[in-house]
Amino acid sequence: MSEQLKVPTMAEFMAEGKQPDILFWVGSAGSYDDRAKKITKAFVKILNKAQVNFAVLGTEESSTGDVAKRAGNEFLFQMQALMNIELLNAYDVKRIVTCDPHSFNCLKNEYPNLGGHYDVIHHTQFLKELIDSNKIEIKDSNYKGKRITFHDPCYLGRANSEYDAPRDVLAVLNANMQEMKRSKATALCCGAGGAQMFKEPEKGNMDINEMRTQDALETNPDIIATGCPYCNTMMTDGVKFKEKEADVAVMDIAELIANAQDL
């Protein structure tokens, strides 16, 4: 990478007596998972380029507790939530953006009841804002005519009725967008949700990600676009399973936008 990423932390802002406009909640996957880290970095490049006044929590960030909650461990979830809320409130955080629909849902919907009230948005919603306010300039030639299909993450789509933002963002690529036979409210899960990411699936005829990848491949895509680090992993595995990795790329919307800006 030629340019160094600028990733200020909340602590640094605090030390200077300043406040960022928005906190970027990186999430555990975005921090540690090799594939998801690339999404994180792509998103930061966009933020840097658009000169967004943002910060991360860095080493102070901890798991939202979302996955513990979906696994049924309400204790662990609430402990994580209360800890995070204490920290977020101490920094007087107002607005949060995250690339992980699970963190998004949890921070947005489940934290308020425990004392954490923030304006939480998903990175596709933020990208849409940046595009609408002309803070992002796209070279639409990079993806022109490429066949792209978007897989709705359950926790952005059905769980929070956000179907448009990712599609609106993808629209600026001037690509050939294809909907899968089940999309939006009827989209099939990638198989990772509800803590399934961390365990072997129960016995069945096939894995869920295979079936979903099949849906995607039926649109004959060059690229499967995702908006969730877990979906990304599941679809990448699915494409490998179908031995299509030479023809079909699985990419997060942030990566597509970063590439379209030649970042």
């Binding site: 960030e61 359950c154 929070n160 869920i208």
Partner: protein, 435 residues
């Protein structure tokens, strides 16, 4: 002697409605076995949901063919109730077609009913074919064997018989035929009876009339034992349906209290609770039996029409896993019925029968296969939330029984120790920045 029919009618009516009322009382008692849940918020939105989803059938038509046929049967059912009202008045007071006094409007009304009756017959036949001839996958799952399958068919037979009786009754009503208004369908049936004497025709008319009303009362009482209960419960059920975003799972308040105490350095964990304070610990975290679920969960279970739209959308079910959200709802109802019978048999007290919903009806394997994707919730035409029950059972398994799959235990230990589901050091959280 001339009042005998009226008296017999009144007795049948009282028995029919009385038995139904008794079962409704039982139904309400059973639903109240569930935990309290406050659903008094946002009444305008709730009324809106009810009129849109239950009255307006907005979710039924997501599958256009089944949806359209269902609307036909539904409208037929609602409108024909006007006719039932006339039967009841006639029966009690010994009148004949009391509403015919209203003149030409009567013809229009009955004419509409007759057309609807034919449409209902067509719809019901198609429904029957779908269930029994075209082997539709969602009607073939293991949970649809035995009673649920016959239940579905019995309802259809009921409707066929009732519609045929209604048309026969009209066709053999000579006075009504003579009026020549409103007999849009029955005029074509009337000639079938041409060879009969007037008294025989009258006898047929009276028989059809009696069997029709008795059939309706029988049908009413059949509801309690059937998935057809949804024709009543769909209304309250959509009213009390979830209003928050589908991804928002409720936070257990009992846990909040505990966690706050644990995290507050000023609390002495060994201090005796203050005098008169409510005991802090709930009996149980999560749910293992129907009494642990909320009353809305139980209302859901009675409302389930076993249509299987949830299961056919479920990713776990589609990939051959044991989980079926429809089965979760059916199991909940079956167990609730069992608990209800237990209470009836033991003078109003539940006697431990050594069974519970989780384990005896629903297996852990089903509970752990769920991806919490909300596809089942989205698909349900009557706002049922099977996912909520699944989650409460997971909570029970994890918080009461420490019975999570091993990998999940590892994941949770990691969160406890490192603040991430993976075994990485929290100090490495920002390493990606320089990689």
């Amino acid at each position: 002697m001339e009042y005998v029919p009226n008296i017999i009618f009144a007795i049948i009516l009282i028995i029919g409605i009385g038995y139904f009322a008794r079962n409704v009382k039982k139904l309400i008692r059973n639903i109240k076995l569930g935990q309290d849940l406050d659903v008094s918020d946002d009444k305008p939105q709730r009324w809106k949901n009810m009129s849109r989803i239950a009255l307006g059938q907005s979710k039924m038509v997501k599958r256009p063919i089944a949806g359209f046929l269902h609307v036909v049967v539904y409208v037929g059912f609602v409108i024909i109730n006007i006719e039932v009202l006339e039967i009841i008045i006639d029966g009690v007071f010994g009148t004949h077609r009391i509403f015919s006094k209203i003149g030409s409007l009567y013809g229009i009304l009955i004419g509409t009913f007759e057309i609807l009756a034919i449409l209902v017959l067509v719809a019901v036949i198609l429904f029957w074919l779908r269930r029994n001839v075209i082997k539709l996958k969602r009607f073939l799952s293991t949970e649809m064997k035995g009673w649920p399958k016959s239940d579905g068919n019995i309802i259809l037979y009921f409707e066929v018989v009732l519609m045929c009786l209604f048309l026969t009754m009209n066709a053999t009503d000579l006075q009504f035929q003579a009026m020549d208004s409103g007999n849009v369908i029955s005029q074509f049936i009337a000639p079938w009876f041409n060879g009969f004497s007037e008294s025989t025709i009258h006898l047929i008319e009276r028989s059809a009339w009696w069997i029709h009303i008795i059939g309706i009362l029988a049908f009413l009482n059949y509801l309690y034992f059937s998935k057809h209960l949804h024709i009543l419960l769909a209304f309250p059920n959509t009213y009390y349906g979830k209003l928050t975003p589908k991804g928002q799972f409720p936070n257990l308040e009992a846990v909040t209290k505990e966690v706050k105490m644990m995290m507050d350095p000023n609390v002495d964990p060994f201090a005796a609770p203050p005098e008169g304070a409510e005991p802090e610990m709930p009996a149980k975290f999560g749910a293992s039996d129907v009494q642990d679920l909320s009353w809305v969960n139980l209302l859901n279970a009675y409302t389930c029409t076993e249509c299987g739209r949830c299961t056919s959308e479920c990713p776990a079910n589609q990939t051959g896993k044991k989980l079926s959200p429809r089965k979760i709802m059916m199991d909940t109802r079956d167990r609730l019925e069992e608990v209800g019978k237990n209470i009836d048999a033991n003078n109003g007290e539940f006697k431990d029968d050594g069974k519970q919903l989780l384990g005896d009806y629903i297996t852990n394997e089903e509970i752990w296969a769920c991806t919490t994707c909300n596809a089942c919730v989205e698909a349900c035409p009557v706002s049922i939330d099977p996912l909520n029950i699944i989650m409460q059972m997971r909570q029970y398994l994890v918080m009461e029984k420490s019975a999570a799959p091993m990998e999940l235990n590892n994941m949770m230990t990691n969160i406890e120790n490192n603040g991430a589901p993976w075994p990485y050091n929290q100090q490495d959280r920002l390493n990606w920045k320089n990689e």
